[in-house]
């Protein structure tokens, strides 16, 4: 398993970095930051399971559970 993962992620080299003036970020960190932005957007945009049904039930006096 470790051999398979090592074939996919070759870490036997210096980290790839992105440089812009004095800012220097590794590609790995940039990927994590991008993932956080994507997950944040999804957390805002995606409806929470059952929230609409509970709100409707509350308005109509039904069982909110």
């Amino acid at each position: 398993m470790i051999t398979v993962l090592a074939a996919v992620f070759n870490l036997n080299h210096p980290a790839h970095v992105v440089e812009w003036h004095f800012i220097q970020l590794s590609v790995a960190n940039l990927i994590v930051i991008a993932l956080m932005l994507v997950v944040f957007a999804m957390a805002i945009a995606l409806p929470f399971p059952g929230a609409r049904a509970r709100a409707t039930a509350r308005r109509t006096g039904g069982d909110p559970k």
């Binding site: 956080m36 944040f40 709100a55 509350r58």
Partner: protein, 237 residues
């Protein structure tokens, strides 16, 4: 003043009265929350706490076995990896939660301390992680500590923290800073319980009424019959 409200003669009694007044049982352990709490943003807050529990658990095992254990045993390496990835998830979830609460202006309604304890938890977690990286006892730790030493010296605080001193950094990492993080998280959760989750911004109904028909949506509801910003009484389990 009733008998129940008479100040107790002992400090323990006074502390108990103050604690119960600040956080009565129904606030401390509520069985329902307002409907607006049904949001993914709060999942990430809970995920941060879950990750912190794993961090403390795996870190306790690593501390019990000593800082070199993970270098020469497979099980040690396993727990070190659990510790590392729990930290990654902790920061990931905490940052998403922090972004969400920032854009919700979660400090509204007397919740300044709720916001500050959350934000300071993030700030304290950064040196907690850094001291962990410099406690690895390998070339990675050596590289990070010398870079951090230059960084701390450049901002004038190098006299207070010697990041190349393993003993000092290890003490910070396994005791002082985790204690601060756990204390801040506990204060944050208790303050959330005391003040409640911040309600959403109120809709501008005038703007909504002029916009919805143009969008082809349903007609706007009457102000007293619509979906008002749910208050504390609009609870759901």
């Amino acid at each position: 003043m009733s008998a129940a409200q008479t100040p107790k003669p002992t400090w323990t009694g006074r502390v108990r009265d103050a604690a119960v007044e600040a956080l009565p049982p129904e606030k401390l352990l509520p069985d329902g929350q307002p409907t607006y709490v049904a949001s993914w943003i709060y999942i990430f807050g809970v995920a941060s706490i879950a990750a912190l529990v794993v961090i403390i658990g795996s870190g306790t095992i690593l501390a019990l076995k000593g800082p070199a254990w993970w270098h020469y045993t497979g099980i040690g390496h396993f727990f070190n990896s659990i510790h590392l990835w729990a930290v990654e998830l902790f920061f990931f979830a905490m940052v998403v939660h922090l972004w969400g609460k920032y854009w919700m202006a979660a400090w509204r309604g007397g919740r300044t301390r709720v916001w500050i304890t959350g934000a300071v938890t993030f700030l304290v977690a950064v040196p907690t992680a850094l001291t962990g990286y410099v406690s690895q006892q390998n070339f990675d730790a050596q590289w990070i500590s010398t870079q951090a030493k230059d960084g701390l010296n450049s901002v004038g605080v190098g006299a207070f923290f010697n990041v190349t001193n393993f003993g000092q950094m290890y003490s910070y990492h396994v005791f002082l800073l985790p204690l601060a993080v756990v204390g801040l998280v506990a204060a944050h959760v208790l303050l959330v319980r005391r003040h409640g989750v911040v309600p959403p911004f109120e809709l501008d109904r005038t703007a909504l009424a002029t916009r919805l028909p143009q969008d082809g949506g349903p007609p706007p509801a009457a102000p007293d019959d619509g979906d008002p910003p749910p208050g504390p009484t609009g609870v759901t389990s």
